[in-house]
Symmetry: C3
Subunit: 308 residues, 3 copies
């Protein structure tokens, strides 16, 4: 595994690799300078449970399963995103971990996306910090050296859809009540350019244009048809299918797969990294406007009414 | 509505908006500095009829219908394009207009594309002026803040196809005798890079390569299959379906939809704007060559024979 | 035909043509400065047979058929690539040749791709020379002024798939035992960025990402479904269908088709040309590593065992 590579890469893990340009220590496999994390040394199965998610790594298979457990809807709050980033860093550095499965422990929902409470009535400083954490989540996931498979066992709007899109492969439960899509415009807000780029890379320009302008949330058959997800399976088979799929990915030598993944995703990652500060500034300036705050309030009220 | 935005934007209306970068007056909704156009102030239905097209705006619905009425084939002559640009500017500035439907009042044809008479036997100056008007048409339509829907109720080759491609959504009459496509190479001429970019954004790179190299004119089922149009309906339902479709688009807050549209189309618009002068120069130098003039003459003769 | 154009173009034949920018001698058709090749002057059918391939040009139809005859698997050795480049140059300069059909005279295989023997146990200098020849093959084929049709009458992995992808149209034999794809990662090596770009231009970003990361070799129905090939026909009809297809392409004026082809492919060609030296350097540095040499040895041993 590319240990030295992983350590040197702060966010854009894959972003630094040009095809055929392999850092000196890459293929030798020596874990020079690597510090094994204590919790991973005792036995084959390791479990780490924070407030927002639970991570199980089986060193014998090389697969980690991350289960989101932040009811009611696995909102991407600042706490959630921070815990996610710490877990990603640990796994990325762990030599025994080659693959990651993202799934939900909360019924009916994968993740409802960005937590509106982090954007509503908050200071510009807070909004900026929050947005930086959203960027970090994407950089860590879209640029991961691990094989990342989304086991989408519930609805997955907005930021939840982005998490799924940032994986290498998407398996969704075939449940007619589940939806997936970047539906931000329905709330009066706008998906940023790197959400858009990630979706264009997955389903193409025209489908993305239509989906984003209309804030479309796709049913599972439609999501499969447009390529937003790769496979539909019965709900109780989502994680096990992800496990089986992982073996196909593990059959490919890691270094060749990682360089190839970097080659495909590097331009998109580089573009975001070089616009990171202006993206934060734009988000803060947009989200703190009175009119946008009003849209968010109206949306939250409509959610409350729907519940009652 | 984005009034100040619209006024400041000369051609690339959407081209100026970065995601989240919203001009100061944008969300406030104040129509500062806006001058209402006289013909739009009397009542809810406004009609403006020029030589080449008829525009009906229903202020109660926010939908304008523009009907091309330049027989025999709604050719995009310099007069047509100039009238189109003036109408677009008026509607773009009109606060009561949110959506535009383009359709034809001439049976069997949406638009046959660029008027060959503006390119055949004309001075370089005239050809340059003509080409600038073609660019202007595309900039105004592809970058419009309005929801633009093409109600394609007839054949739509070359420049006619470009007009449809520049809208947000395309509904076509399912008539086996109608065709649509960028078929320029069949005439021995070449679609410029921004025609190509608009088609690539709609149907992807490979389909565009094949279509442009072979000058393919697609039947309506094929146009639907490759994504060149979004929907086929019986001929007498084209405009009414466009009306119904508009309500789905109007359900999305204008500012969020407009910023999203800009994000999707800005790179393509910017590229054209920054190459605008060289594109005119290249067109003039190409079209005034003896061999190309000869191709145009042969094509016109073949049209004349087909008629007789 | 674009004689002067062809002569001045060393590798990036189409890469030099901007849309509408046509060299002075282009449409006049005068073969100024062109030297007819002796072997092409005697009669209508010309045949040239080297060690690795046989070329038949029928001047009456304008179609050249190039048959690879390098058993057992038409590997792209340095000798093969050199002979290919010489043949391409001759045909490109030959006024009577408008179209090229690539096919195989070896049963069951179109081409197995790059010859591993040119990369295994060889000096950095040799590897560099070999890689330059691979680049040259792609530049000549992807940028050809001729209509190039791949008549894929056998399996076509890795570099063999690249050759097919670099043509204008792909017809494959519908044989359940044949496969096609850029499967480099299965060997522990990595397809370079311009292999990737060529595939993205054909089947889009997402399909390419999945195909390259997993080193997928597609069955013929799957290849058709994702657009990796354009048409499946019975094995004995592959070349005759290519002949018939050529007539559709010849119906389009050459200059318009060539400028259009250039417009579609120039950005991809330019990107490779401007990174050519670093691409060679990266390849040599990658392929000469101990770990990669070991992967190649293991792969060759597995091939040997499969045979026995």
């Amino acid at each position: 595994m590319a240990t030295a590579l992983r350590q040197s890469a702060k966010y854009s893990l894959l972003g630094r690799l040009a095809p055929f340009v392999v850092p000196a220590s890459f293929p030798s496999g020596n874990a020079i300078g690597r510090t094994a994390l204590p919790y991973l040394m005792s036995n084959q199965r390791h479990s780490s449970s924070g407030t927002k998610m639970k991570v199980d790594l089986d060193s014998s298979t090389g697969i980690a399963v991350m289960r989101f457990q932040s009811p009611p809807v696995n909102s991407l709050s600042l706490d959630f995103l921070t815990e996610f980033a710490i877990n990603m860093e640990k796994l990325e550095l762990d030599k025994s971990c080659r693959g990651l499965i993202l799934t939900s422990a909360v019924p009916k929902i994968f993740s409802a996306g960005l937590d509106i409470m982090e954007m509503y009535g908050k200071s510009p400083e807070h909004c900026g910090e929050f947005w930086k954490a959203v960027q970090e989540m994407w950089l860590k996931l879209y640029g991961s050296n691990m094989v990342a498979i989304a086991a989408v066992n519930g609805s997955s709007p907005a930021g939840g859809c982005l998490m799924a899109l940032s994986c290498d492969y998407r398996i969704m439960a075939e449940n007619p009540r589940y939806g997936i899509g970047l539906n931000e415009t329905q709330l009066g807000i706008v998906a940023p350019f790197w959400f858009k780029d990630t979706m264009v890379n997955t389903v193409g320009h025209r489908t993305t244009e239509l989906a984003l302008e209309l804030g479309l949330l796709y049913s599972t058959p439609d999501a499969l048809r447009i390529g937003l997800v790769d496979q539909l399976v019965p709900e109780d088979k989502v994680v096990s299918t992800a496990m089986e799929t992982m073996t196909k990915w593990f059959a490919i030598p890691d270094h060749a797969r990682q360089i190839t993944k970097s080659m495909m995703r590097k331009p998109t990652i580089d573009k975001m990294v070089s616009n990171r500060e202006s993206d934060i500034k734009n988000f803060v300036s947009f989200i703190t406007r009175d009119s946008i705050q009003k849209s968010l309030r109206m949306y939250m009220e409509s959610l409350r009414k729907r519940k009652a």
